[in-house]
């Protein structure tokens, strides 16, 4: 259960693309229906590259690729293909894939200081298709909550912004504008150090990214940019002993596109 820094990729000018430059914004648009799709690279012998430049040296330890169709690809830093990331907790340790079949993946890597991250997209799962990627996150952690909350205190939902029309015969028509994640995490017995770390995150009052159960395979694809509105509650004791730890709720709401 991780809260990450805001996506390092947030402007189109950061993305250096070998084609489809008009689709650069879709790389950091959470709505995965709108993908970056290469143009003229529907051949597994051609490589389409996405390079994301940072305007200063950044620490990268988390990468996420959602709704892609890549079979063979590699991602690396500072423009050198040998600079692959060291992946932990996944099915491979190097960020180089030859026969991938997953369409959404979340990678934890050893933290790297770098000024760019590149993805060379070589082959597609269905052969000879344009290379597609729905959402790219490049980030680092704010805080890793080593244990999840109790299931009853983990309330996650997709909230639609929808218009419900009641027609003249009483029938209903729904028109959807967008679906946004909202999550409430209830914790008890948190150590003082964890409480203080959470307070540091809360006090930033800035955009962040929430990923509860990121994996490289069979991922539930839940990752979203969010804000933490409301109170900081974790000064409440969990029990009648000051040493028992602290309780409170974290509410995270997805940001606009």
């Amino acid at each position: 259960m991780e809260i990450l820094k805001a996506n390092y990729l947030n402007t189109t000018t950061q993305a250096i693309l070998t084609s489809s430059t008009d689709r650069a914004a879709y790389l950091f648009d959470r709505d995965v229906r709108f993908q970056y799709v290469s143009s003229g690279f529907n051949n597994d012998l051609t490589t389409s590259t996405i390079r994301v430049n940072f305007d200063e040296t950044m620490t990268v330890s988390r990468l996420s690729l959602l709704e892609h169709n890549l079979k063979e690809y590699i991602f690396y830093y500072n423009g050198v293909t040998a600079n692959t990331f060291v992946i932990s907790g996944g099915d491979t340790t190097a960020s180089s894939f030859i026969s991938n079949s997953e369409t959404s993946q979340y990678f934890r890597s050893t933290a790297i200081l770098c000024t760019s991250v590149s993805i060379d997209m070589k082959k597609t799962i269905t052969a000879n298709k344009e290379k597609a990627l729905g959402y790219l996150v490049i980030s680092d952690t704010h805080i890793v909550l080593s244990r999840p909350p109790a299931s009853k205190k983990y309330a996650i939902q997709l909230d639609p912004t929808e218009v419900v029309h009641t027609l003249s015969d009483g029938g209903t028509r729904i028109q959807n504008v967008a679906d946004k994640y909202k999550v409430k995490l209830g914790y008890e017995y948190l150590a003082t150090s964890v409480r203080d770390s959470l307070k540091t995150v809360w006090q930033l009052h800035t955009e962040m990214i929430f990923c509860p159960f990121g994996t490289t395979t069979s991922w539930d694809k839940v990752i979203f940019p969010c804000v933490w509105p409301g109170n900081f509650e974790f000064y409440r004791f969990s029990d009648d002993a000051a040493g028992a730890g602290f309780s409170g709720n974290i509410i995270l709401k997805e940001t606009p596109r």
């Binding site: 169709n69 269905t126 003249s168 015969d169 504008v177």
Partner: protein, 448 residues
């Protein structure tokens, strides 16, 4: 099944979109930037877009402002002098160009894991305007923009500063062409940049009457007027209308309704697989008595003489079939001293008379989101506030068995009323109010 705008409109569950796009003015050239900037993600409330013609009064155009509220905690919508402002480095926020788009998105995922997203309609613009008016910040971190229709640019320019008049005067067509081609004296167009910076976005109808007073910028009909004042007078005297359509095209044209049916609105009591059921509520239906006049006066010369005031009226008689007696002998007065000849005055008189002496059904209704219709469109209406023929009294099942002819059978009707019964009736749209918050279209239309 192939998706179309109609299939999206009638779909029980669909995705809709709305966008507001902006073009700032260069601090150097004063011209709008070439690329539209999408500022949709900062919108807190979208407001409504309203276009109307002849709704309140014949030939009067009402300017409907769009009031859109933006989140401004970062100061992005502060004045252009503020370095946090999105306009920093550009000219004033005022008269920035705004385009609003709305429609449906249909998304499909192919087996190669590539999404295809198609927007309906393919050209989804519903409004073009400019930022115009006071912009106040507040401590709840929002700023409300007043977005006015493009016609505002004609209000904001004095006619006295126009060049291109000829000593013999101008026709209305020539005047509008002169406006289209007006420059600041250094080959920079004054009005054209707001209309796509092209002549093709000016639909100027042809006229032949020459207005002698449009001969110099010091003319009594020009020197204290705005460009809009003159346009409005010309439209009245030519019996035409001025409006900017949803594609941002300037129109000086007749008020003729389109010949083809742009959309068929259906409500209770009807089933249609092409258009579906879109009427939510009919709030008003009936003959607008206050729009009935049995007498029309057109005053076209500034004097009180028989020649100056042209009159056409219904013959008055105290009989049960006389409209002037039944409804009141009311007079519609119309005054325009730009009308060039008595013949033109009489033509306008006839047109107005034909419009106001026939009681027509008006309808005001609300529908679910229908983004692609415009004023003057012909729309078809089918709506029945009850399910059975309202002229019948008794139930067919009980009373028809002994008779092969059902013409004389009597039907029980549903008790909830027969107030409205429209079966494929054609109407002309006079007013459209599109709520971008509710994705709802309010329409006022008159029967054709």
């Amino acid at each position: 099944m192939a998706e179309t705008i109609l299939s999206q409109i009638k779909a029980p569950n669909s995705y809709v979109f709305r966008r507001v796009l902006l073009k700032r003015k260069s601090a150097m050239t004063g011209l709008h930037e070439s690329v539209w900037q999408d500022i949709s993600s900062d919108v807190k409330t979208w407001g409504s877009i309203r276009r109307e013609i002849d709704n309140v009064r014949y030939s009067k155009i009402k300017f409907g402002d769009v009031l859109m509220k933006f989140e401004n905690s970062s100061g992005r919508y502060n004045p252009h002098e503020d370095d946090a402002s999105f306009w920093f480095g550009y000219a004033s926020q005022q008269r920035s160009l705004i385009k609003i788009e709305a429609g449906f998105t249909h998304s499909t995922l192919a087996s190669d894991n590539i999404w295809t997203n198609t927007e309906y309609p393919s050209t989804p613009s519903v409004f073009y305007g400019i930022i115009s008016g006071d912009l106040y910040n507040s401590d709840d971190n929002h700023v409300q923009f007043s977005i006015r229709p493009l016609l505002q640019v004609f209000r904001d320019y004095p006619a006295k500063n126009l060049t291109g008049f000829t000593s013999t005067g101008l026709t209305a067509t020539q005047f509008f062409q002169m406006i289209r081609d007006q420059t600041d004296g250094s080959s920079n167009f004054i009005f054209r940049p707001f209309f796509g910076d092209t002549t093709t976005n000016w639909n100027i109808g042809s006229t032949s009457n020459i207005y002698a007073n449009l001969n110099t910028n010091n003319s009594v009909d020009v020197f204290d007027k705005t460009v809009w004042d003159i346009m409005e007078k010309l439209a009245e005297s030519e019996d035409k209308i001025i409006y900017v359509d949803n594609l941002g095209t300037f129109n000086f044209t007749t008020r003729d309704v389109t010949s083809t049916v742009a959309f068929h609105f259906l409500g209770n009591g009807f089933v249609d697989t092409e258009y579906g059921h879109t009427i939510k509520k009919v709030s008003k239906f009936g003959k607008r008595q206050t729009d009935f006049y049995s007498r029309v006066e057109v005053k076209w010369i500034d004097s009180n003489t028989f020649t100056a005031v042209r009159v056409k009226e219904t013959a008055f008689a105290v009989t049960g079939s006389n409209d002037a007696w039944n409804l009141g002998h009311r007079t519609f007065k119309f005054e325009n001293f730009w009308i060039p000849t008595i013949t033109v005055a009489d033509t306008i008189l006839d047109n107005i008379y034909n419009n106001v002496t026939v009681l027509k059904n008006n309808i005001e209704f609300t529908s679910s989101f229908v983004p692609h219709i415009d004023i003057l469109d012909r729309v078809r209406m089918s709506y029945d506030s009850s399910a059975l023929n309202p002229t019948s009294r008794w139930d067919l099942f009980d009373w028809s068995a002994d008779d092969t002819s059902t013409a004389q059978d009597l039907y029980w009707d549903r008790f909830r009323g027969d107030a409205i019964r429209l079966i494929g009736a054609d109407f002309k749209i006079l007013s459209i109010d599109l709520s971008l918050d509710k994705f709802e279209t309010k329409i006022v239309a008159i029967e054709i």
